[in-house]
């Protein structure tokens, strides 16, 4: 029987790539386009009214989310389970962090989104590692 590599990072990278290939082309374009617009709108500070810049950033952010949702639809039931556990971990962790931040007068603003996604990422890796452990 051929040998199988058993590296978590290798497997995660391979299946992330597989899910990207399985994602509909329109969703790939929406995701990449949204990310590109968001980076440009955030880094270059174009000379346009702030309200318009805000609308562009929000639209780009929504595009990224739409692309990620379409990507998630390509995943199998194992990854659906990983997403479920990661969401539960993110809900618990982020609520504690955000609540504690509020109690101590920490105004996170847009960083709230970073807290949400960072805790989801932590939850994803933790759930992935737990479910594949022997």
């Amino acid at each position: 029987m051929p040998a199988e590599r058993d590296s978590l990072i290798h497997d995660l990278a391979r299946e992330t790539w597989d899910s990207w290939i399985a994602t509909p082309r329109w969703a790939q374009l929406v995701l990449v386009g949204g990310a590109a617009v968001h980076v440009v709108a955030s880094v270059t500070q174009p000379p346009i009214p702030y309200a318009l810049l805000g609308v562009i950033r929000v639209a780009a952010f929504v595009a990224i989310i739409v692309g990620l949702i379409e990507n998630a639809k390509t995943l199998d039931e194992f990854y659906s389970r990983v997403y479920l556990e990661a969401s539960a971990i993110a809900l618990v962790l982020s609520s504690v962090i955000l609540y504690a931040g509020g109690e101590f007068g920490l105004r996170l603003g847009l960083l709230t989104v970073v807290v949400l996604y960072a805790t989801f990422l932590i939850g994803f890796v933790a759930a992935f590692a737990r479910l594949r452990r022997a």
């Binding site: 029987m1 199988e4 039931e77 194992f78």
Partner: protein
Amino acid sequence: MRNAVRELRQLRGWTQQELGARVGTSRQAIIAIENGRFDPSLPLAIRLSRLLEKPIEQMFFPEE
């Protein structure tokens, strides 16, 4: 839930990747099922049962 998926797969000389591809799921799903960390859905269990030619009740055993 314990199961005989690993033994049945190894009898056929398939890798986890090959078995996953044959039943339309990821290698991670096969790893997690074989390790008893993840119970497959009924549709996936039926596909495994048909491919590995073993009735579901002889492939999956509830923890006592």
